[in-house]
């Protein structure tokens, strides 16, 4: 039951997280900024519009946005309840989570290639490069959690972490959180990897892949992106919530606060950092991988 | 009983004073003369304790075991004094034309004199200290002090050589420090604590109880670290550059003793390692492998070498390998290694000093253009000829006999592969070095380059070491046999 609440609230509130980030950035810049619920207005507006399809595309282009969204929703369903119901999921489901995210990426990339546009092909290539670098970081990070908690499923992992584990392996867990956060920035096309506000096709990653989508399809894509951010953010928030301990309802009470914090943090990073040049972004992701490896090595040492 | 040990601190102090004195020198010529006189004075002073130790066999000890001179270090100190004296006596003549043309100004000469005595003092610290930490400080100091001796003349080449030398040797010295740390930490299980855990004598006394893993790790770090400074392959890259760019007297002390000083540190550690690992030859095998690798590397480079000073530098690499190999074989090999060290330093200093004069007169390092040296200058040409002949191991010279003894030690201990590789390396070096030597000495050349007239002293410093090299090959005086034997006994683990 608490798991269902978390999942549904995620579906409902995901666009709000983006709103928080946008407001944070506005506050740093000294502006009032768009309203918190702007994302919802945009979605409604897009859903009401008609749809234009390029003549060179095939059915792949038509089905990809819906399929990608379905896969992302499944990912959210896998992650959201894990903090409150330790029995949720199955051994090794964190690999399945990576598969789902990869599948969503596969649909987006194929539909981008399907348009035959050189810009979209470029974006697709960058997207695949980033994911090739970020997946090891994620996987090794999950390896640390498995190692520290001694459980193989997402639910078990978060259930198995407590203040005892945080005392003995807190450094390793913090490093995992840092690595996850860098991956979050990369996977959700935030600064310093990609600027969501830019409109220069040459430098964009995610946005450039969906240049040809419009109307309801674009609404699905936008919503999917918000949900993906929510999934990544909840991975980090869940990790820190385990340090507090407590009952499911306490978790549910703390969870929104944590998400708000992540939203503000993303906004802060976007405000204080400049976008890295495209050639340098892989170094940062490699750094995330290195941090994950460090966390793993430390966890083997702290828990002998 | 005269307290000869009291001389030891004086030995370190005197060069420091002379170094300060040369910093205050008035003219380049005066400073160079001070170099010559001062170095000989220090050598004569050092001769007393060296003779006492080598004749009596008992080590001299001072300052609660921190200063100690035993047979091994006394023998090294003898070589040090000979090489430094030869180099210093050579300096006034070598720099004479530069002083005249004013390319060596007073500031440069002051720096030269200060660093010359400074490095002499640092090397004496290395040899005299019983404390492995202080010994390390001495090696580090020699590195820093000798670096600027390479670029007495600032040219792109000498600056590059200096930078390479500084960078590689400072990293090597850092590694050697790690080795020293590990060695001192290996005293954990024993009753040796505090400052004592760095003293060579107390480490030797309790070698059986040391933590074997740490001793082994420490020795590997030391071989890499000090080996870099001793020029053992594959850490030898700085060596040919530094030797070929430095002025001849500096090249002579680099080849003749700086390398030996670092190798001495490895040799110091060897008996501790052997005693701690139960005398199974673990440490010796590392030295044998390093020695063979150096010999073969040097042989490969000597064959393709066209630059005279680089040829001599690679020859030093080869001879360091031979000394390491001999020490690694132990027993008769260690005796031969000590003998080889003395003969190599004699031959190499003479060869470098003669080569320096010849290169100055011809204005080139290229052996294809250095022809007819014997006719142009009988003294320096003969010095070069017999120096190189001696170094490649031609029969009547001492090096032939020491190499032969090492070969026999290898065969006697059943190390057939080692013996064959050693012989192979010797043959390649012999062929490679002689390829250019014959035209360099005899091929006629017009017009003959002009050499300044050699003084009596210069005849003396060429002829004396060469005849010593020849005499040592024919008959060895009894006191030297005893000295080599007692130094080899230290290597074999005798107290």
């Amino acid at each position: 039951m608490p798991g269902l609440i978390l999942f549904l609230s995620g579906l409902l509130l995901a666009p709000l997280l983006l709103g928080v980030t946008v407001r944070t950035k506005a506050a740093f810049a000294g502006r009032r900024g768009a309203p918190l619920f702007q994302q919802y207005h945009d979605l409604v507006k897009l859903l009401r519009r008609g749809q234009v399809m390029s003549g060179t595309t095939t059915f792949l282009f038509r089905v990809a946005p819906s399929l990608a969204l379905v896969v992302t929703v499944s990912a959210a369903a896998l992650v959201a309840p894990s903090i409150v119901s330790p029995g949720w999921g199955f051994p090794g489901d964190f690999v399945f989570l990576l598969c789902l995210l990869g599948l969503a990426r596969f649909f987006t990339v194929s539909s981008a290639l399907d348009t035959g546009s050189s810009f979209e092909g470029m974006g697709a290539s960058r997207e695949v490069l980033y994911s090739a670098l970020s997946e090891p970081a994620l996987l090794i990070g999950f390896g640390v959690l498995v190692r520290v908690s001694g459980e193989m499923s997402l639910g078990g992992m978060y259930g198995g972490l407590g203040s005892g584990e945080w005392l003995s392996a807190g450094t390793a867990l913090c490093l995992v959180a840092v690595s996850f956060f860098i991956v979050l920035l990369a996977e959700n096309s935030r600064i310093p990897f990609d600027d969501p506000n830019t409109h220069l096709e040459l430098t964009m990653v995610h946005e450039v892949m969906v240049l040809d989508n419009s109307g309801p399809d674009f609404a699905l894509i936008t919503y999917g992106a918000a949900l993906k951010l929510w999934v990544f953010a909840s991975l980090i928030v869940n990790l820190f919530l385990t340090a507090l301990g407590g009952s499911s309802f306490q978790y549910i009470a703390w969870f929104p606060a944590g998400m708000l914090l992540v939203g503000v943090l993303v906004g802060t990073v976007e405000s204080v950092m400049a976008r890295l040049s495209l050639l340098k972004t892989p170094h940062l992701l490699a750094g995330a991988g290195a941090i994950s490896v460090l966390a793993f090595i430390l966890s083997t040492r702290f828990l002998q | 009983m005269i307290p000869f040990a009291l001389l030891l601190p004086l030995l370190v102090g005197l060069p420091v004073l002379l170094s300060l004195a040369s910093l205050a020198g008035r003219s380049p010529a005066a400073i160079l003369r001070l170099c010559a006189v001062g170095t000989v004075a220090v050598s004569l002073l050092a001769a007393v304790p060296v003779a006492v130790v080598l004749a009596g066999g008992e080590p001299l000890v001072m300052l609660g075991d921190w200063i100690r001179l035993d047979a091994l270090s006394a023998l090294h100190m003898m070589v040090l004094c000979i090489v430094y004296s030869l180099g210093a006596l050579h300096s006034p003549g070598y720099f004479a034309d530069e002083v005249r043309k004013n390319t060596l100004d007073t500031a440069a000469a002051r720096r030269y004199g200060g660093l010359w005595f400074g490095s002499l003092s640092a090397m004496l610290v290395v040899l005299l200290s019983n404390n492995m930490g202080v010994m390390w400080v001495g090696i580090e100091a020699t590195t820093l002090l000798t670096a600027f001796l390479i670029c007495v003349h600032v040219t792109p080449g000498s600056l590059e050589a200096m930078w390479k030398y500084l960078l590689m040797c400072s990293v090597g010295v850092a590694m050697a420090f790690t080795g020293t740390l590990l060695l001192s930490a290996s005293t954990g299980p024993t009753a040796v604590h505090g400052n004592e855990s760095l003293l060579w004598t107390s480490l030797m006394a309790s070698a059986g109880g040391l933590n074997v893993t740490l001793v082994k790790a420490g020795f590997i770090f030391m071989v890499i670290g000090y080996g870099t400074k001793a020029g053992l392959a594959p850490m030898h890259n700085w060596l040919p550059d530094a030797h070929s760019q430095a002025p001849a007297p500096v090249s002579a002390i680099f080849s003749g003793f700086l390398l030996n000083a670092s190798l001495y540190c490895i040799l110091r550690t060897l008996p501790i390692v052997e005693a701690a690992t139960g005398g199974q030859g673990w440490g010796r095998e590392i030295l044998i492998a390093a020695g063979l690798l150096s010999i073969l590397t040097a042989a490969a480079f000597i064959v393709v070498q066209r630059d005279l000073k680089r040829l001599l530098a690679y020859s030093s690499l080869e001879h360091m390998g031979i000394i390491a190999l001999g020490a690694g074989l132990g027993g008769a090999g260690a005796f031969a290694a000590m003998f080889h060290m003395l003969s190599h330093s004699l031959g190499k200093s003479t060869a470098f000093l003669s080569a320096g004069r010849i290169i100055k007169a011809y204005g080139t390092n290229d052996m294809r253009r250095l022809t007819g040296t014997l006719a142009a200058s009988p003294l320096w040409g003969a010095g070069l000829l017999s120096g190189i002949l001696g170094l490649v191991g031609t029969a009547p010279f001492a090096i032939f006999f020491s190499e032969f003894m090492i070969l026999r030690a290898a065969v006697d201990s059943g190390e057939w592969v080692t013996a064959v590789l050693f012989l192979l390396g010797m043959c390649i070096v012999f062929a490679g070095a002689l390829r250019f030597l014959l035209p360099m000495v005899w091929k006629p050349r017009d017009p003959k380059p002009v050499f300044p007239k050699a003084t009596v002293l210069e005849h003396f410093i060429v002829i004396l070491p060469l005849s010593a090299l020849l005499l040592l090959g024919v008959l060895m005086p009894g006191f030297l046999t005893k000295a080599f034997a007692s130094a080899a006994a230290v290597l074999g683990g005798a107290q």
Partner: protein, 214 residues
């Protein structure tokens, strides 16, 4: 005290990673300075036997030297030589990071094999110092500019210093001070050397000084 110590050690590794992945020379010098300060704080963090004057003096000396004096000298060397502020690596940044991770794993493996007698109460101090040594060596070899090679040497020295704190119970103060003095001299000499190399060539790229071969 152990948690404090572990945080410093982890921060040391992270600073290594930044050094391996950073492309700005000024940035590298700043990170190396921070690393020096953290290393200087190690003996203070480990003073379990009481906070003696000797430990405090050692810590302060290291912090001042590595945190303030060396960075200043290096910055002056860059300024006076008017050289490029880019790192110019032989080995790319991502590959360098990979090498750093490999060095880290190798150090932990080595530590498991060698079982050092520990003086400090931390499970990771020896492998961290070993990995700093490896990283320093890698930086010396894999970076082209002379200043960056000096930074690599500093990292190597930091690692050795941490190792000496970890495994040696009572090395005399004399030797510890000797290390510092020699380091100071080493970098100082290197600084002058850089200056003069630059005077001669108008750059201090030791790669371009590669005429001496064979």
């Amino acid at each position: 005290m152990t948690a404090y110590l572990d945080i410093i050690l982890v921060a040391l590794i992270l600073s290594d990673f930044i050094l391996l992945g950073s492309g700005r020379l000024g940035n590298c010098i700043r990170i190396a300075a921070w690393q020096g300060i953290m290393v200087g704080l190690l003996p203070i963090a480990t003073a379990d036997a009481g906070f003696s004057f000797r430990i405090a003096a050692l810590g302060i000396a290291v912090v001042v030297l590595k945190g303030f004096v060396f960075p200043r000298l290096l910055n002056r060397a860059i300024r006076e030589s008017a050289s490029s502020r880019e790192v110019k690596p032989f080995v790319g940044y991502t590959t360098s990071l990979l090498a750093g991770v490999l060095a880290l794993s190798a150090s932990f493996w080595l530590d498991g094999r060698l079982s050092f007698p520990l003086h400090l109460e931390s499970a990771i101090v020896v492998p961290v110092s070993l990995s700093m040594m490896f990283t320093g060596l890698f930086l010396v070899v894999a970076r082209r500019t002379a200043v960056n090679q000096v930074i690599g040497y500093l990292v190597l020295e930091n690692g050795i210093y941490a190792l000496s704190l970890a495994i040696v119970r009572d090395v005399p103060f004399l030797v510890e001070l000797g290390v510092l003095m020699d380091m100071f001299v080493a970098v100082f000499v290197m600084g002058i050397a850089i200056y003069r190399i630059n005077m001669e060539f108008d750059h201090m790229d030791s790669n371009r000084l590669a005429k001496l071969r064979g």
